[in-house]
């Protein structure tokens, strides 16, 4: 609860027992009704967010289209798409999930979870992310390599140029 709210609500400053006779359900209802009278959101605002989300989806789809100028440098596209995705996620969380209008408890729940998520990913890097730096012969024998893709592409080229059929008639 923000400070200003706490001052407006005198009950919050007088220790734990402040609203005599109210059951948990009554208090829940009171909170929900209070929320119901909040004037955040509004249909126009939601529609504006919706339009922004559609626009951003089109933007990330742009990297797939032939108009995208950095097709030879995929990293540019990846960074761009992640930026677009984070913006979309932020819009959904702030407006649709009403986090913009929530009190400070939102940080207690979201920041530790987000940190945990980031550490979890980082901790996977040494064992999983770098697993191909040092591999056993057994694994190297069976795993796909870039050369396999090239070999398949070469086979496809040979097929489309008719060399394979020639090979058959020989």
């Amino acid at each position: 609860m923000s400070n200003s709210e706490a001052h407006k609500n005198p009950s919050a400053t007088h220790g734990p027992i402040t609203s005599p006779g109210k059951s948990p359900d009554e208090i829940d209802h009171a909170i929900e009704e209070e929320h119901a009278h909040d004037h955040h959101g509004g249909t126009m605002q939601y529609m504006a967010v919706f339009v922004a989300l559609c626009f951003l989806t089109t933007m990330s789809f742009l990297t797939y289209s032939s108009y995208w100028p950095w097709r030879d440098e995929p990293q540019v596209g990846w960074a761009f798409m992640m930026a677009v995705s984070c913006t979309k996620a932020l819009l959904v969380v702030l407006f649709f999930m009403h986090v913009l209008w929530e009190a400070n408890w939102k940080y207690v729940l979201t920041i530790p979870a987000a940190m945990m998520a980031i550490f979890l990913t980082i901790m996977l890097v040494p064992d999983i992310g770098l697993r191909n730096r040092m591999v056993s012969q057994e694994r190297a024998l069976h795993m796909a390599r870039g050369s396999d893709v090239l070999l398949l592409e070469k086979a496809a080229d040979a097929d489309s140029s008719g060399e394979v059929d020639k090979h058959e008639h020989e």
Binding site: I27, T43, M81, V93, A103, G129, R145, V149
Partner: protein, 313 residues
């Protein structure tokens, strides 16, 4: 808190005993608090899945391109649009319920349910296009090999010497050209060539790449999700020969794991909306709609990251 309440009850010499009261520690209802706690565990759950995917993907020596594994970017973008629309309809349902417009709230809720089902339908269509090409999330039925090597060659040989397949091939060989379509005539010639190549003891490494290309070529960019370059597996659906997609097995594991868990969440959301539709959606149920909406927005949020990571990277 109970101890304090009890002691104060004593001090006031209340003859009816202590009156225990409830004071929320946070300015939100219990339902919403529990939903947010649940969502914070969900953040960690999906972040772990997505994080593992990113680490596996960028640590892999080879990762298939989306079109190599029959993923269609336009279909993914369409599904993103469907989920965004459903997120909007949930907030509109909530607003309508708060304003006591019950039938409007119900309509928006119904639209959400339809959009969620549409998302699942599209997902099912996408899954079927993977299954058609022998890409399964589990090993015994998966027909994907990592590279066109000797192991692959022997797997093709084993399949071709299956009695059922031998019988079918004999039948095919016995048919007149007039009975077959053009694709089948070419397919029959190529199948013969593949049989010769896998059985040839002097085969070159390149021969097996040609075999793999004849059986299921890697689709070109821009092909539709059921698209293929006219491989033998497509011409003769009964053949079901092993195919080569470099990096395809790890891709299949992560793809089905991520989208599968997301789809389970969508299904749970749809069940919740189905239950909500049984209620009168007015100000009394606004709290329930809000909590269901929070969950649904989270499901949308996960897809917002899944779409570019799976379809566009």
């Amino acid at each position: 808190m109970n101890a304090t309440a009890a002691s104060i009850g004593h001090d006031s010499h209340d003859h009816h005993g202590p009156v225990l009261q409830y004071q929320p520690g946070l300015p939100l209802s219990r339902g919403k608090l529990i939903m947010w706690l649940f969502l914070s565990t969900e953040i960690m759950f999906f972040a772990a899945l997505l994080g593992s995917y990113v680490v596996l993907r960028f640590g892999a020596a080879v990762w298939p391109k989306p079109h190599h594994v029959h993923l269609s970017e336009p279909i993914g973008a369409f599904n993103t649009f469907v989920l965004i629309c459903s997120s909007v309809t949930v907030v509109l349902a909530l607003e309508a319920a708060k304003a006591n417009k019950r039938s409007l709230a119900k309509t928006w809720m119904l639209v959400t349910l339809v959009l969620g089902s549409l998302f699942l339908g599209v997902k099912a269509y996408e899954y079927s296009s993977k299954f058609d090409h022998g890409i399964y999330p589990w090993a015994p039925r998966g027909r994907i090999y990592e590279r066109p090597d000797l192991y692959y060659g022997s797997a093709v040989r084993a399949r071709l010497s299956d009695p059922v397949i031998l019988e079918k091939m004999k039948e095919l060989d016995g048919q007149e050209e007039s009975e077959l379509s053009d694709a089948e005539i070419i397919g029959r010639r190529r199948l013969k060539q593949v049989r010769d190549m896998v059985n040839n003891p002097d085969q070159q490494a390149f021969d097996l790449a040609v075999v793999a290309d004849q059986i299921m070529p890697l689709p070109a960019e821009g092909a539709d999700s059921h698209g293929h370059g006219g491989g033998l597996n497509d011409t003769f659906a009964w053949l079901q020969l092993p195919a080569v997609i470099p990096g395809g097995n790890m891709w299949a594991s992560t793809y089905f794991f991520l989208t599968g868990f997301h789809a389970i969440h969508v299904i749970v959301g749809l069940i919740v909306f189905g239950i909500l539709l049984l209620y009168q959606l007015g100000p009394q149920t606004a709290g329930m709609i809000e909590n269901a909406g929070l969950y649904w927005h989270f499901v949308d949020l996960v897809w917002i990251f899944l779409f570019p990571l799976l379809y566009l990277f």
